[in-house]
Symmetry: D3
Subunit: 170 residues, 6 copies
C-alpha cells in the first residue's frame, strides 16, 4: 500500500518525534541482527587461534556488545528506553574469508520492538573487535549489518531474504 | 616486522587492559571514517527529496552521530576518555545505488588517536538513519565501515587504499 | 489540607529517598511543560527565517530535547527510571517578543508521573538553542519554565491557571 | 560588525557541526550563570525554615547541579567534552518574593568556554528543587536563566547588564 | 543439588550472556545490602559531629548512593535494565569502632531481582564518603559488603546468617 | 597539623563543592587500590578452575572494572571528570581463603589524583564477580577496599601500612 509509506518518526509538519506507543500492549518481541568484520589473514588467525596471540578479543567484544545494547536509547534519538530481558551475541569465524560474522539476539516483553538494540549490540561488538586489533590491522572493514529476523508486535514477522543487492537496485 | 604483531590491548598474560599513554605527548590528531547505508529506491527518494516525505532524516542522523562520537569511551571498553575538539559528518547520497555514503571527521590535540570516535560517529549516524526509516524499509544494509585516513601520533599516517576486498583474501 | 504538606522525598528523619511507588498500578499518564527563550531581534530572525542564516537551530534543539527527556533519571536524583512511551516538542516563535515558546509533551503507562521528563525536554531544548546561537547573542534569557498540565495518577489532573505572579506573592 | 553574525555551529551548507577548537590554546576560563525558581509562600518557608519541614532540599539540589554540570556534553549536542576544574553553586533565598535565586560558577583551563556547563548546573539544580517540592506545589516557575559573566578565551569578557527586557524589544 | 551449580551468565559454550527473563512474570521484589567504612577517630567525629566540621558528608553520600543504584545496568555487564520503584539508604555510625554502617534497600515490581542495585547503592555511598573525607584520611577501609536479605522471585527468600567467616572456610 | 583537618569538598558555610584545581599544573599521577571478594569453596573453584565450570568470570569482571573507572565522575558527585591514560586490573586468587584479591592501577597526567578511579575499578570488578556468580552463591562478601599507593600531586606519596585495624581503634 503506497499510503503506508510515511516516516513515523516525523509528524505531518516534518518535525521529529518519539513515536507514541502508549496505547500498545506489552507483547513478546525478539530481534536478530547480523554484521561482519573482515581483516587480514594474520589478524584473523591471531583472533581465532589462541596459541598465536594471547588475549580473548571476542570475549571482550561480547561483553561490549551486550552493554552496547543497553545504551540504545542513549544513542539513537527517537528510540524508546526499554527494559530488554535478554541479549545473546554469537561470533562465527569464517576462515576462508578472514571474516568474523556477528549475530545478536535481543528479547523483551514490551510495547515496541528491539531491532535497534540488536543493531547496537552488533555494531558495538564489531567496533570493539576493531579497537582491540587496530594496532596490527587498521584496514579492517565492518559490513553487512542488517536485520535477520523480527518477531512480535503489530507489524508482524520480518525475515531477511538472502540476495539483497538486487532488491536495492529495484 | 613480525615482532610488532601483538595486541596492545592485552598484557603478556593475555589480560585486557587500557593501553598506557601516560607518557605520550599531546599532538594534533585527526581521523576520518566512512560507512554507507543502502536501501530501497523509494526509501532513498523519501530521504533525499523533501517534496515526497517531510522530515529531515539526515539532519537527525548528523546530530546523533556527533553525539555518538562523544560516547566512544562509554561504549568501547579499552578506549581512553578523550576531549575531542571537532566532529563533522557529511552525507553523500549516491542515487544510482540508492545508498547514502557517510563520512565522519574527528580531531583532537591529545595523547592518543580518534579513530574509534570517527567510527562511532559513522555507526551512530547510520543506525539512526535505519531507525528513522525502518517503518518503511526494514531491509536496509549498513556496510563498508572502514578507516579512510588517520594523521598524527607515533604510528604516523594511514590512508585507505581503494580495492580492499582482494587484500582481505590475501 | 495542611497535614498533606510534607516533602515526600524525605523520610521523617529528613533523609532524602526515592519515593516508594512499588505498590502503585501502571496507569496512563501525561505531562506538558512549557518554557521560553527570548533573544535579540536579529538572533530571532536568524533562527526563524532560513533565508538569513542557514542551519536548523530548532531541529537540533528538538532532537536534544527528546534525548534530554530520556536522561531525566540520570540527572534528577530522586526521579524513578521510567520507560517513557512518547515525547513531542513544539516551538512557537513569538515575533513581537523575539521569543521562542517551547512546549514538551511526554506520555507513559507507568507507576509514576512524567512531569520531570517534560521539564527536562524543555530545559534541554532551550539550552541547546542558547548553545547554537551563543556566538551571536550571549544575552538570551530562558524563562517561564512551568508545568502546563498533568493527567493520570492518584493526585489527578493539574492545569496551569494563567496569571501566576500574583499567586506567588500570596 | 554585521559579518560576524553567523551561527558557528553550522557550516556554510547549514549542516550542524561541533566547532573546531583544535588549534586554540588552553587558557583559564570561567562562567557564571543565574536562574531562579519562584513558589508559594508556604513552599518557600518549608525549604528555608528547617523547623517547619525536615529535609535539606537545597543540599540535594546543589549535589544534582554539580553533577549536572558534568553531563553537559552528553546533553547539549554540539558541546565539546570538557574536564571542568571547579563547580560551585550558591542559593540566595529571596523572602519577599518567595523565590530562590541560583548562581553557578564553573572554571576550566581549556580550549573553549564553560557557559553551557554553568547553565546545566543552574537548570539541574532548579529542576531538582521542583522535583523535591512538587508534591506540595506543582505551580513553581523557573525563570531568568541567563549568563552573568564569562571570562577568558578569544571572545573576551561578557557581563550581564541589568535591564534586559528592553534590549530584547530592540 | 549439585547439578544446580552452574553460572547462569554463561551458556554451555562458556560465553557470557544476559540471562533470559523474558518469560518471567513481574512480581514484587526487594533486596537489602550492607557495607561499612571505617576510619580514624578524628575523621569519624568530623562526619558525625556537625559542630566540629561543617558539611553534611552523609547527606551527599545518600544522594550519590540513590543515583548509583540507577546506574547498575550501565556498570555491571550482565545486569538487566530495571525500573526500580524505591531506594532508601540508611547510615548507622558505630562510635566505638569509628565506622559507618551503610544499608541500602531497593524495591521493584519486575521480572528479576534488585540485589545488584542495592549493592551499587552501598558501594557508591561508601566511595562517596571516602571521596568527601580523603583530604583528611586516606586510610579508610570499605568492608563487609554483603547481601542482607532478598525477597521475591523464583529463588525465594535469602537471609544473611551472622557468622560468615567460618562458612567461607567450608 | 590540626588546622589542616578540613573537608575540602565543603566551603566555610558547609556547602558541598567541587574542589577548585584550575590553577594546579598537570603532573604524572598514579593510584593503586585494593579489594577482595570471599566466597564458598565451590564457587571459588568454579571461578578458578576452568575445567569445572566454563565461563571466564574474571575476564568479564576485568572489562567491567576498566569501564567502571571511566564512569567515576558520573557516580561520585564531587569528582572531576578526568582523561585517565591507563587502567590495569589484576586478580590474585587466594586458594586457602577462597578469596579473590583485586588490584587496580590507574594513571593520568592531570591536575588531580586518580584514587577514586582506582576504587571504582576495584568496586565494579568485585560487584561483577558477585553478579556473575550469585546464582550459585549469594553469600559472597566484598571487603578490604582500601588505597594501596598514591603518587604525584602536592600531597605527595601515600603508602598503605599493613596492620590497619589497630590504627582505626586509635
Amino acid at each position: 500500500m503506497r499510503e503506508k509509506k510515511v516516516f513515523t518518526h516525523f509528524n505531518e509538519g516534518g518535525e521529529a518525534r518519539m513515536v507514541d506507543v502508549s496505547q500498545k500492549g506489552a507483547t513478546m518481541r525478539e530481534a536478530i541482527a547480523h554484521g561482519s568484520i573482515s581483516m587480514n589473514r594474520e589478524t584473523f588467525r591471531m583472533i581465532v587461534d589462541k596459541r598465536i596471540a594471547k588475549g580473548d578479543v571476542l570475549g571482550v567484544a561480547r561483553v561490549a556488545g551486550i552493554m552496547g545494547a543497553k545504551r540504545t536509547a542513549d544513542l539513537i534519538p527517537m528510540c524508546h528506553p526499554l527494559n530488554i530481558t535478554n541479549v545473546e551475541i554469537n561470533f562465527f569465524p569464517s576462515q576462508g574469508e578472514n571474516k568474523i560474522e556477528i549475530e545478536a539476539r535481543v528479547k523483551i516483553k514490551g510495547q515496541t520492538g528491539v531491532e535497534m538494540e540488536a543493531f547496537l549490540a552488533v555494531a558495538t561488538a564489531a567496533l570493539t573487535i576493531y579497537d582491540m586489533c587496530k594496532a596490527v590491522d587498521r584496514g579492517m572493514i565492518i559490513s553487512d549489518i542488517h536485520l535477520v529476523e523480527k518477531k512480535g508486535g503489530k507489524s508482524g514477522t520480518f525475515r531477511w531474504k538472502g540476495e539483497r543487492k538486487d532488491a536495492h537496485k529495484g
